[in-house]
């Protein structure tokens, strides 16, 4: 092919090898999303064909040379009703179908494995509960629902995995969630799709989907030593949270054991569920989250803990199913690096201590 310019040739080769018209389907939701997508494409094509046929047909039939005198027609209520009701019906089908998908994508199942993702200018930082940190990458196993809890440290970002057909904005100041279940091992694109400043286009990475075995190996190989909860525990004691949040009778703060997902009554009389977002808010804006029966004395930690720190604390509190751990750390300022993984089994703790203050 000497007569073709080498640049053009290279380009053609590259094009043919890379050319794609449709993204891979690598998650459980992807085929469902694509079904709706193709339904919409079909409807659009039919609609477009109809419009084009009408325009072309009428243009040929009623062009001036063939049809010199126009016939004045007022309109037709029946026809107009037809093209009001049929599109409306189709649009409503798309609305219901789309809404069902939306529910599915933004409602994580109970057994989902949680990974925290912090977005910041201009990188993604993923934190696995086991303490594995990744930057601009996300390793997930096949066949396991994964929930992402997203937050941004600065501006809006948006976590997008086209191959999974999921996307969620990471917002400053609030957790958002999305979930997926990967189906095919491989490496897929991870994009930030919300414009976030100069290096917006560099905020990309890879999502690596692995078989469960490989994933287990990867988890072991990339652990930093401490689990996220352990990091949180260390932070908990270094910030002296346990000075108040302990189980002493004269404790000035409520006990935090089993507080996660519990219904709390606040001093304002409201009842709330202590989810991730609530825990985060209670650390940063405590005065709006005073549990009933306690004095509003907790200082704010706004500006003192990074988002990663808050995540570690939240993860710690989430896993705090007894007061044992808090008691253990009462008088320590620093933990030995290799304490056992999780808090001690609940059975070793007296029942009275397990009581959660509402």
């Amino acid at each position: 092919m000497d007569h073709i310019s080498p640049v053009l040739w290279q380009f053609l080769v590259k094009w043919l090898t890379h050319f794609a018209l449709f993204p891979p389907e690598a998650s459980k939701i992807a085929p469902q999303m694509d079904a709706l997508y193709f339904f919409m494409v079909l409807v659009s094509l039919v609609g477009l064909t109809l419009v084009v046929l009408l325009i072309l047909g009428f243009s040929i039939l009623y062009r001036k040379a063939r049809h010199p005198q126009a016939v004045q027609i007022e309109g037709s209520t029946i026809l107009e009703a037809t093209w009001t009701i049929i599109p409306l019906g189709l649009f409503l089908v798309m609305f219901v179908w789309g809404a069902l998908l939306y529910f599915r994508i933004y409602t994580p199942p109970a057994n989902a494995m949680n990974i925290y993702v912090v977005g910041k200018q201009w990188m993604w930082k993923a934190e696995h509960p086991g303490g594995q940190h990744e930057i601009n990458a996300l390793h997930v196993p096949v066949g396991q629902p994964v929930q992402l809890t997203l937050i941004s440290q600065d501006v809006f970002h948006s976590f997008s995995i086209p191959a999974f057909r999921v996307k969620r904005e990471a917002i400053p100041g609030r957790y958002t969630t999305v979930w997926f279940e990967a189906t095919t091992p491989g490496t897929y694109h991870l994009f930030c799709t919300q414009y976030c400043g100069t290096n917006h286009s560099q905020m990309i990475g890879d999502v690596v989907v692995m078989t469960p075995d490989d994933f287990k190996k990867w988890l072991q190989g990339s652990t930093s030593g401490n689990s996220l909860a352990q990091d949180g525990e260390r932070l908990f004691s270094s910030l002296s949270c346990n000075a108040c949040h302990n189980t002493r009778p004269d404790a000035r703060g409520p006990s935090l054991a089993n507080v996660y997902d519990a219904r709390l009554t606040l001093s304002t009389g409201q009842t709330v569920t202590a989810d991730d977002a609530y825990l985060r808010d209670a650390i940063l804006n405590p005065s709006q989250h005073i549990t009933q029966g306690y004095a509003p004395i907790m200082p704010t930690y706004q500006g003192q803990i990074s988002e990663e720190g808050v995540i570690a604390l939240v993860e710690y509190i989430k896993n705090l199913d007894s007061d044992y751990r808090v008691q253990q750390t009462l008088n320590t300022t620093e933990l030995a690096p290799n304490v056992e993984e999780k808090a001690a089994p609940a059975a070793t703790v007296p029942a009275a201590q397990k009581e959660v203050k509402p």
Binding site: F103, Y106, T107, G269, Q270, T271, T273
Partner: protein
Amino acid sequence: MSEQNQQHEQEHHIVSPTTYLIILLALLVGTAATVAASFVDLGEWHIAAGFTLFWNPVVALAIATTKMMLVVLFFMHVKYSPKLTKLTVSAGIFMFLVLISMTLTDYMSRAWGRW
């Protein structure tokens, strides 16, 4: 010229100073009432768990709206104005409420949690 003007004045309703004076007094009374009401705890109404309606702001806004209506109807002559003006005023109030209420629906329903 003068003919046209006379015609014009006949169409154009002139509100009497007495009406204005009455409205002025009503507005001043309204102001006194709203200040007085703000110093009294009017209590609250628990509609449902987590939803409490405090009467004080409700009363304050009700008085303010009454005052607004008096100004609009009499000082601004809407009571004597053509339908188009009335429509314009209602459109303004309506869009104002759409902006506030539809934005607030998002904020309120966020507290309902995830499904």
